[in-house]
């Protein structure tokens, strides 16, 4: 199966610098205990070796768990715990989270700052790894993956939309949208065509050549959404996507998400604004690292969008 074969990747990632230390207890270690003690010294050599091997195996054939939609439960968290070790004391970021999000849902994760929603967001986005428990993304436990495998997962399975847009400056909207496809080693023709289609879809077909600093906040966020959709990922993760936008642009963006959801994409929005969460179909509330409520929601109808001032209710 090539590079992404499990055995091979154990090989590649099993460097001595305690790479696997985060593994929860009780899970079988695949015989690299000895390497764990070898310390930081060999890290470099092994990294180089890994790079070399990766360079050699130019196989583009990816395992099915990356290319195929495997599970009806897109996200499944089992007893997920995240501990922050700040040296003097350990802070519990997430306390045994159990959560299932099905394919095609439109979910809001709510909570005040410090409630653990950002921590969860990072873990859901495969940017961070849990301290304990399991995270099955599309049926695969990503908690056991090494950074490069996680990169691949992020590339194929997840589209990010950030509060601060996070477009790459001095790079046209088109090139920004192409970027995930570049990392997926897609051809130049294909990239450009798809990027144009996507920009068209978010209503920016005419601004493909614009630089991010030539676009308004709402437009930038739409470029970011187009970029998030580039590799057609099953999961769209939005972290406070309207936090830097005015009301009108916020509503536009949320309606775009609603539409994407109707077309079948799973959308998870992290927010602290009730009227943003109101667009979704399920609202999960966090407090102090725990889920305090998980309720279905009847989404706000589009024609209601003019109603009421921008009140931030809690």
């Amino acid at each position: 199966m090539g590079l992404w074969n499990r055995e091979r990747t154990e090989d590649l990632g099993g460097s001595g610098s305690g790479e696997r230390k985060w593994k929860p207890d009780g899970r079988p270690e695949s015989g690299d205990k000895g390497q764990e003690e070898s310390g930081v010294g060999t890290d470099w050599a092994e990294r180089l070796q890994a790079l070399w091997k990766m360079g050699l195996s130019r196989s583009r054939k990816l395992p099915e768990y990356i290319t195929e939609n495997v599970s009806e439960e897109l996200i499944q968290l089992e007893d997920l715990v995240k501990v922050y070790d700040t040296g003097a004391l350990k802070v519990l970021g997430l306390k045994r989270i159990n959560l299932t999000i099905h394919r095609g849902e439109f979910v809001a994760i709510m909570g005040q700052s410090g409630s653990g929603k950002s921590t969860l967001m990072n873990i859901l986005g495969c940017l961070d790894r849990p301290s304990m428990g399991h995270y099955y993304l599309d049926g695969v436990d990503v908690a056991a993956m090494n950074p490069d495998e996680l990169s691949l997962i992020r590339n194929r399975k997840i589209g990010f939309v950030f509060q601060s847009f996070n477009l790459i400056s001095r790079t046209s909207a088109l090139k920004n949208v192409e970027l995930p496809m570049t990392y997926a080693r897609k051809g130049k023709r294909f990239r450009e065509q798809r990027a144009r289609t996507l920009l068209e879809r978010v209503g920016l077909g005419k601004r493909a050549e614009h630089m991010p600093n030539e676009l308004s906040g709402g437009q930038r966020q739409r470029v970011a959404i187009a970029r998030a959709l580039a590799n057609d990922p099953p999961l769209l993760l939005a972290d406070e996507p309207t936090g830097n936008l005015d009301t009108a642009a916020s509503v536009e963006i949320m309606e775009l998400f609603s539409q994407l959801h109707k077309e079948g994409t799973t959308v998870v929005v992290v927010t602290h604004e009730e009227e943003i969460a109101a667009f979704t179909e399920r609202i999960i509330r966090f407090r102090d690292g725990e889920i305090v409520s998980d309720k279905p929601n009847v989404p706000r109808e589009p024609e209601q969008k003019e109603a009421g001032p921008n009140e931030k209710g809690h």
Binding site: R47, L51, M54, G55, N122, G125, L127, D128, P147, D148, S151, L152, R154, N155, R156, F160, F162, N166, L167, I168, S169, R170, T171, L179, P180, T182, Y183, A184, R185, R227, N231
Partner: protein
């Protein structure tokens, strides 16, 4: 992907033009000086080679070594001995004479010019061709008959007679205490490059002339050295060793007691001096390349820190460690190679312009240029490894949070 990376690198370099230029400056100066020094060295070598070709590579002087204490009169040469050498070695000798020179005032009317006389055989022009413009060269009759005929160059003729075509004109001069009248039978024109003029000394006021060696060297005279031109350049070393051995044996000496001063040896010495000099100065110039490389590393570290957020974004979009690493390596390699190219243009250009001003053919070897570009890219990659690995190792969450 590589093309993508290169595009990204160029856009990053363009985004910080001033900074990129200043960073490149180290490499520009380094490569520029290496290129110019190596090229100057090559040019000088080829000019010296040309110079030695001009005076004859197969030429050599054979004389008793200055390290020999008990020099006897028999260690010097007579014309009889010269004839014997000529007979023994026959065809292997292209030319042989008594290496006779004289310096004297030539007087024509009210004009007196200091002349350097070179005693030669009539076939000297076969080994040292001159461009006769008026009259003729010395002939066998002149040499055998010890006729007081001379051949001089146009400049000398102008100095002495005020005209170029001085064939038939006469002058008086005193050689070895006897004052006699000499007749000009031929005039030749010298072609000297400015470099040759510089090295040989442009003779603007004095004069020089060839006359039969039989005037300067008489049958019972002893003379100091044999001037020989070997027939074949390829076998000349063996030939000269044989000559040395023969002469030493005939004089009852060891071959080591005789010194053979050949143009080829001298050329080799000059070559190695020039080569050594170029290597030494080039080595010093290479140090500036090292400094340039450190400058690149420095600016790449700054760039990596500045673009932490970009790295975070890229990682969140699926860039792997290797992708980030290659991106920054490409950038530092291109930064350095650009500096290398500018350095080559600058260094090579300076050498070319300098060569054109001095009227010599400057030599910039393509191999050296290629080596320099490759080396500068290597410098970029080498000094880019640390910053690039620093970038690649960044934690995506931390990087995304970076302001």
């Amino acid at each position: 992907m590589l093309i993508e990376n290169m595009k990204m690198a160029f856009s990053a370099i363009r985004a910080n033009k001033m900074r990129s230029f200043l960073t490149m400056l180290g490499i520009i100066i380094g490569i520029g000086s290496v290129i110019s020094i190596v090229s100057i060295g090559d040019t000088m070598r080829s000019m010296f080679e040309g110079l030695y070709r001009e005076i004859g590579v197969t030429q050599a002087y054979l004389f008793i070594g200055y390290w020999v204490d008990d020099v006897r009169q028999s260690d010097y040469f007579t014309l009889d001995e010269m004839e014997r050498v000529k007979e023994v070695f026959g065809d292997q000798i292209a030319y042989i004479d008594s290496n006779s020179h004289a310096s004297a005032d030539a007087i024509s009317g009210r004009t007196t010019v200091k002349f350097a006389f070179n005693g030669v055989d009539y076939n000297y022009q076969e080994v040292q061709p001159v461009n006769i413009v008026y009259g003729r060269y010395l002939n066998e009759g002149d040499v055998l008959g010890r006729r007081k005929n001379v051949v001089m160059d146009t400049t000398s003729a102008m100095n002495l007679f005020g005209v170029e075509n001085a064939v038939g004109k006469t002058f008086r001069t005193t050689i070895y205490g006897t004052t006699e009248e000499y007749t000009v039978v031929g005039i030749y024109r010298k072609k000297l490059s400015p470099f040759q003029a510089m090295m040989m000394g442009a003779n603007t006021e004095g004069g020089e002339a060839f006359l039969p060696y039989t005037i300067l060297t008489w049958p019972n005279d002893y003379f100091y050295a044999l001037r020989i031109f070997a027939r074949d350049e390829a076998t000349m070393d063996v030939f000269y060793n044989n000559v040395k051995a023969y002469v030493a044996k005939s004089k009852g000496r060891q071959p080591e007691d005789f010194r053979l001063n050949s143009a080829k040896d001298e050329m080799g010495q000059m070559d190695s001096i020039m080569g050594g000099l170029a290597a030494a100065v080039g080595g010093i110039a290479a140090i500036s390349l090292l400094v340039g490389g450190i400058g690149i590393m420095n600016i790449m570290l700054v760039s990596v820190t500045e673009r932490t957020r970009e790295i975070g974004i890229r990682k969140s979009l699926g860039a792997r460690t290797r992708d980030i690493m290659i991106q920054f390596l490409t950038e530092s390699a291109i930064l350095s190679a650009c500096g290398g190219v500018v350095g080559i243009l600058l260094g090579g250009g300076l050498v070319m312009i300098g060569g054109a001003l001095l009227g010599v053919q400057a030599i910039v070897k393509p191999g050296v240029v290629l080596l320099a570009v490759g080396f500068s890219a290597m410098v970029g990659i080498f000094f880019g490894i640390y910053p690039a690995s620093k970038a690649a190792k960044k934690d995506p969450i931390e990087a995304l949070r970076y302001e």
